[in-house]
């Protein structure tokens, strides 16, 4: 009974597909899975927009949207109708083809990332050997659409926003990849299904999630920072900050194309949170051995929900980072910590079991964090303001 509930979506798909002749079964099965993914995540996006606006509103001591439904729940419907019926304005000097293609490429590459995420036991769309590499390849393609959007609008603010956005995404992509490489090193495989399997043990009722190890914890922090920066969320949302650049690279987009950019950003946030929970938080595993009766997909989406809540919380709480502070942070703090994390993970592997490796690895990481942090702060001489004029 418990296993049937756990595998209910897989069983549903097999039952639906069983009505067809044998040669049609695999393609139609794939189409059904893809349709589920493409239908589910925009629905989650709609719920998240309300959650975010209410959440950030309550953090800022105001009510969020509260007109449309009870407690503003039906706000996404109003947003959807608005974006569908708004006039689609394209500037005359804009590059029409590239302007049209940019949001499409963003949405397509963001949705491709979901093909390798294991959303439950046996619930992955494609079980690829190099699954993690596929995910990052799709993430790298997102930067291209940001640039296309900014350049094709023929607008200085858009171009500035696009260049800042691409620079930020490239810098934090290195950190994202390095913090994931530690997990690949310890699990021994690039396949996300095998990474979750490698964490699927319990000791004294507690799970073997990678976040509960020193290198896993440091890796998770670096991954969280880099992931927030990759999807241009606060506190890293200078490329699209309203008070800075009008709206950055999507200034000249209105109506449904803007809705596509919005959708792409939120679905990218889900995607990165999903990957983070697969790599560090054990994917579809239950947090305690006694709780394994709850279906695996509930745990995956629960962890996704908690990650999204933390990201929204960060948006409401932290001030925005300036561009040079952002880049300094990436190259001078996050990247050295990721490299040191690789070294510490290697040390962990070769030190053998016992309490000694926990102590040594934790001490190395904490010392590094404190010393790099202090070194970064000491260089900041806050003297009188100096002005540089453009010649």
């Amino acid at each position: 009974m418990i296993e049937r509930l756990d595998q209910i979506f897989v069983l549903l798909k097999h039952w639906l597909v069983g009505y067809l002749p044998a040669s049609w079964q695999i393609p139609v099965g794939v189409v059904i899975s893809v349709a589920c993914i493409v239908g589910l995540y925009p629905a989650l996006f709609a719920i998240t927009t309300v959650l975010e606006r209410k959440g950030v509103g309550r953090i800022q001591n105001r009510l969020g949207p509260n007109r449309v439904g009870p407690y503003g729940i039906l706000q996404p419907m109003a947003d959807g109708i608005k974006s569908l019926t708004k006039e689609d304005i394209v500037p005359t000097s804009a590059d029409a083809v590239v302007h049209f293609l940019a949001p499409i490429i963003l949405v397509v590459t963001v949705f491709m990332g979901f093909a390798v995420l294991p959303m439950g036991r046996n619930m992955v769309l494609v079980d690829m050997d190099a699954g993690l590499l596929f995910y990052f390849a799709m993430g790298a393609s997102t930067e291209l659409s940001v640039f296309m959007a900014g350049w094709s609008s023929r607008n200085k603010y858009s171009l500035l926003g696009a260049m800042r956005g691409v620079a930020q995404m490239i810098s934090y992509e290195v950190a994202l990849l390095l913090s994931s490489v530690v997990i690949v090193m310890m699990a021994g495989s690039l396949s996300l299904v095998k990474i979750v399997e490698a964490q699927n043990h319990y000791t004294w009722g507690l799970p073997h999630w990678y976040i509960f190890t020193p290198w896993g914890f440091a890796g998770f922090l670096m991954y969280a920072i880099a992931g927030t920066a990759e999807t241009n969320r606060s506190p890293f949302d200078l490329p699209e900050g309203e008070s800075e650049l009008v709206a950055g690279y999507h200034t000249e987009y209105s109506g449904f194309k803007f809705a596509l950019f919005f959708l792409g950003e939120y679905v990218a946030m889900f995607s990165i949170s999903g990957l983070g929970s697969t790599l560090f938080l054990g994917g579809w595993m239950a947090p305690l051995a006694v709780l394994q009766f709850v279906p695996s997909w509930i745990w995956f989406f629960g962890k996704l929900f908690v990650s999204v809540d933390v990201v929204i919380w960060m948006r409401g709480t932290l001030p925005r980072l300036r561009q040079d502070q952002l880049m300094n942070f990436a190259w001078k703090f996050v990247l050295p910590m990721c490299l040191l994390n690789l070294f510490v993970a290697g040390l962990w592997r070769f030190m053998g079991d016992g309490w000694l490796r926990w102590a040594v690895c934790s001490v190395i990481l904490i010392l590094a964090y404190v010393s790099i942090g202090r070194e970064g702060m000491r260089r900041k001489h806050f003297g009188p303001r100096s002005y540089r004029y453009a010649e």
Binding site: L133, G139, A140, S141
Partner: protein
């Protein structure tokens, strides 16, 4: 060679042709990106997963962005007045025909020794990693030194410019 191969090749060749023939430089750069994607799809069709995804990560995610940034920062996005074809195009045609002839001869010479399509070798990322760490470790280290030198060179070039504007 199936229908999928011809479709992917049309993609790659069309992108490369567009990259050479288009007047607008950024359009040409984006068409080059399409050509890179086509190559990655060809790698994936041959079941070389690592090569395909690394192609996308490196070429589309880094090289294409670099090309586009270079176009942006050097005012190359204006349409050239004299047209895109250079005057010595006959010599260029002759040289590229010669290179194509040499490559085609090399491939066709080796063709009898290629394995047939049914028996694809199972090369996992594990094998690539093992090979890189055991048999090809010297090229790996040399590439690492090369990349470090390139990074240092980039930082030095950027730093010099900053000092010049301050004086």
């Amino acid at each position: 060679m199936g229908f999928v191969f011809y479709l992917i090749s049309a993609f790659a060749v069309g992108g490369a042709l567009a990259a050479v023939l288009l007047k607008n430089l950024v359009h040409a750069a984006l068409a080059l990106t399409i050509a890179f994607f086509g190559l990655a799809l060809l790698f994936l069709r041959l079941d070389a997963q690592f090569a395909g995804f690394a192609q996308i990560l490196v070429y589309v995610g880094a090289v294409a962005i670099l090309v586009v940034f270079a176009i942006l920062l050097t005012r190359g996005s204006e349409i050239p007045k004299e047209g895109v074809f250079s005057k010595g195009w006959i010599a260029g045609l002759a040289i590229s025909a010669a290179v194509f002839a040499v490559l085609a001869w090399a491939v066709l010479q080796a063709a009898p020794w290629l394995p047939n399509e049914a028996a694809t070798p199972a090369l996992t990322v594990n094998d690539i990693g093992n090979a890189l760490m055991s048999r090809y470790v010297l090229p790996l280290e040399i590439i690492a030194v090369l990349l470090t030198a390139a990074l240092l060179g980039a930082v030095i070039v950027a730093m010099h410019e900053k000092e010049k504007t301050n004086q």
